[in-house]
């Protein structure tokens, strides 16, 4: 497949950029933060995104989506990264809808994907249990009880948890923490008895939840896929999620870089603009080179999702590791090159480094994915 965007994709990219730079900017994020908004995003803006089809962009047409594929979603997420736009696009659309599509039966897809595409339901994945991403170490338990399962355990860092209508809880029906087999995905209504939720705000001003499950009764009909056999679909979903997040990091890093270069052309010291200093020029040029590599690996990984490339796991970890590295460098350089003003809350550049680190760590950071990339490369 040619590594290039077609006309339709270029138009989508432009329309997403146009919408977000008007409706969901860093200034909007600041306002949400300063009002300690529990929703963590504007419902009106989300409904407008839904109207444009973004909630169903990667969902098949038969389930109410656009069937536009993940390259399309990735282009939107890149613009989301540029504007630091807060919405359920990551938690519900990129992650939860993908996992339902991967593991669910046709009737489950009908039941959940259509309302997601219509902006009527929000769903979030409840996977992580400790401070680091380690899906195979899941210890939450599900025990068969008649026609139902009883779920117990604790989940952390559940994205947009306080607004979710349902969670996809990953729990163990067999095996021990560390086994890839024995994991099962349950669709659990947020209102179910036995779930306790507490909300935390993270450094990027987004909300995550800690879930405590105590003998939560879930009908067997709400199991996604085979009991004990969630790993493959979960793993593919995490690959897709990481590529989507890499796309967001690409937009974020590019924007932070462009703002920094603009500042280098404007800020004067020693009687001249600081962008004329070679010490800064070379650092900027090196970063430009890294951003170009980042753009290429993200596009290759997005296309690999849509083409069913069997190299997907390797490309997902490659894209995430590369973008973690580049986002870290771009956001650190952004602060340093802005100097003192970059340290102030009043200036917007600080929002980029905060969001960058959270996205970098979500579903595996640089170290996790570089290790996985090496393993998948055979060493």
């Amino acid at each position: 497949m040619a590594l290039v965007l077609n006309e339709e994709q270029l138009m989508l990219k432009e329309s997403a950029a146009g919408f977000l730079t008007e409706k969901a900017t860093v200034a909007h994020l600041r306002a949400l933060r300063d009002s300690a908004d529990e929703r963590g995003g504007s419902e009106d803006v989300w409904q407008e995104m839904v109207q444009m089809g973004w909630a169903g962009i990667a969902i098949a047409e038969e389930f109410g989506g656009l069937g536009y594929g993940y390259t399309g979603l990735g282009l939107v997420l890149e613009q989301v990264g540029r504007n630091l736009s807060a919405s359920p696009l990551q938690s519900t659309v990129l992650v939860a809808a993908t996992l339902i599509a991967e593991l669910g039966s046709d009737s489950q897809k009908e039941q959940w994907l259509s309302p997601i595409a219509a902006g009527e339901k929000r769903v979030s994945l409840a996977l992580q249990e400790g401070r680091h991403h380690a899906p195979e170490k899941t210890a939450a338990r599900a025990v068969a009880n008649g026609e139902d399962y009883l779920l117990s355990g604790a989940k952390v860092l559940v994205l947009d948890a306080s607004l979710a209508d349902a969670f996809i809880v990953i729990a163990r029906t067999a095996g021990e923490a560390g086994d890839m087999q024995g994991l099962t995905a349950f669709l659990v209504e947020a209102e179910s008895a036995g779930i306790a939720l507490s909300r935390s705000s993270m450094v990027d001003s987004r909300n995550v939840g800690t879930l405590t499950l105590q003998d939560v009764r879930v009908p067997a009909a709400q199991v996604l896929g085979e009991p004990g056999g969630a790993w493959q679909g979960l793993s593919r979903t995490l690959d897709i999620a990481n590529i989507g997040l890499a796309s967001e990091l690409l937009g974020l890093s590019t924007e932070a870089f462009e703002r920094t270069v603009a500042y280098l052309k404007e800020r004067k010291q020693f009687g001249r603009v600081i962008g004329s200093f070679q010490g800064l020029q070379h650092r900027a040029a090196e970063l430009f080179a890294e951003l170009e590599l980042a753009r290429s690996i993200v596009l290759q990984a997005l296309q690999a999702i849509d083409s069913g490339d069997e190299q997907l796991p390797l490309l997902a970890s490659a894209a995430k590791a590369k973008l973690c590295e580049v986002a870290q460098r771009a956001s650190n350089e952004a602060i340093q090159m802005h100097g003192g003003i970059g340290m102030t809350d009043e200036h917007e550049i600080g929002f980029f480094i905060k969001r960058a680190r959270v996205v970098q760590h979500t579903f595996g950071d640089y170290n996790y994915h570089l290790d996985r990339f090496a393993q998948l490369s055979g060493f």
């Binding site: 052309k265 001249r272 900027a284 170009e292 490659a318 590369k322 170290n367 490369s377 055979g378």
Partner: protein
């Protein structure tokens, strides 16, 4: 049968009949490449046979127009020829700076007479060309070159010195940047001339590199003669041609970083072994190798993306400006890893035990990649100024 299918069948039959068996062996090193010239270095007699046969059809440079001796093939035919050559693992019949560097400049800037004079001899491998650009005091700052060309009516007299002239001691002619005018800015007054190296006023002395090889020379001109009919483009317009050619050269050098057959990670496994989890049993070196392989993958994707964007009519993106810089830096990283993985054996120099220093010599040679054809620092200056629009100091 379609025309292209017929072309394929004819090409296949012709190659089968005409490509000598020895020329279907893999290329092991520079010695196996045939460079042509008046006194060609011949490692195997079939090199010249193969070159002559291909040249008769213009297939040493199959994409050049027929009127200049080329094959006149269109894109589809060119693809078929390459595929059919690969099918029988046929070697390239002729590798020369005439083909890769001077030819494109002549096609772009030369007069009809100049093209007819020089291009067919490049196609036939009769003349081996070298490039006279750098001087002792004009390296990164190439435009400050001082080699003089004095107007003598129908010819110029050339005086001065070039350095880093690749294979000047083995070449027949030189394409050379000379100063024809000192009055304007340093970029003005530079001219691009061609002249014969086989004359009393020209001397080429090989330079021995830290790698032990001598691919470059210092070249001295003492009243050397260049005919005016061999001035390419207008007098004083040589800088434009020089920049055009530098782009070609940079593309060539950046491709040195193309990934070799065996990944560093696999070589490291052979060297260090694996731990119980299957990971490389050197946990300190492993992430450095992984980062190198990651960057190699992303760099390959970038070259593909820029090519595909150009094909889709989206123009040659700014990304192409990083190729020379990034490709050569990657190649240096690869060579450092070869030492880390190869251990002290990799530092051998002579003697069969350590392959006559194959690894250490390549490692040393790679240091030049980020110097020749524009240093990494100059490449970063270009990105900063032309792409990012940052101002001069």
């Amino acid at each position: 049968m379609s025309d292209i299918e017929q072309f394929r069948q004819e090409t296949r039959a012709w190659l089968e009949e005409n490509c000598p068996v020895a020329m279907r062996e893999p290329v092991r090193g520079f010695d196996d490449l045939y460079n042509g010239g008046r006194n060609p270095e011949i490692d195997h007699p079939d090199q010249k046979v193969w070159c002559d046969r291909m040249a008769q059809r213009g297939w040493t440079v199959p994409h050049w127009p027929k009127e200049y001796g080329g094959g006149g093939l269109d894109k589809d035919e060119l693809k078929v020829l390459r595929e059919e050559m690969r099918r029988i693992t046929a070697r390239s019949p002729l590798d020369s700076f005439g083909i890769s560097m001077l030819g494109p400049a002549l096609l772009h800037f030369g007069t009809e007479e100049q093209k007819l004079e020089h291009l067919p001899r490049i196609v036939r491998g009769e003349i081996r060309w070298c490039q006279g650009y750098s001087e002792p005091n004009a390296g990164s700052d190439l435009a400050s070159l001082a080699t003089r060309a004095d107007d003598q009516g129908d010819h110029y007299l050339i005086n001065g010195q070039k350095v880093w002239t690749s294979y000047a001691d083995k070449s027949d002619w030189i394409f050379c940047l000379v100063r024809t005018d000192n009055s304007g800015s340093k970029h003005e007054g530079i001219s691009f001339v061609l002249f014969d190296m086989d004359q009393p006023g020209v001397e080429a002395r090989p330079i021995k590199l830290i790698s032990g090889s001598s691919p470059f020379c210092e070249t001295f001109f003492d009243n050397a003669r260049a005919e005016k009919k061999n001035l390419i483009g207008e007098e004083g317009n040589g800088w434009t041609i020089a920049k055009y050619l530098l782009t070609h050269e940079r593309e060539m050098i950046s491709s040195f970083g193309a990934p070799p057959k065996k990944s560093v990670g696999k070589l490291a496994l052979e060297s260090f072994g694996a731990d119980a989890s299957g990971r490389l049993a050197n946990s300190i070196l492993r992430p450095t190798i992984a980062q190198y392989q990651l960057d190699t993958l992303a760099f390959g994707a970038t070259m593909a993306r820029v090519g595909d964007e150009a094909k889709a009519g989206q123009g040659l993106g700014a990304a192409s400006s990083i190729f020379k810089y990034y490709g050569t830096e990657l190649n240096k990283r690869r060579n450092e890893l070869n030492l880390a993985v190869g251990g002290e054996f990799a530092l051998g120099w002579e003697g069969e035990a350590y392959r006559d220093g194959a690894i250490s010599r390549d490692w040393l040679r790679s240091k030049g990649n980020s110097i020749e054809g524009g240093t990494s620092e100059v490449q970063l200056n270009i990105v900063a100024k032309r792409v990012l629009g940052l101002p001069d100091a």
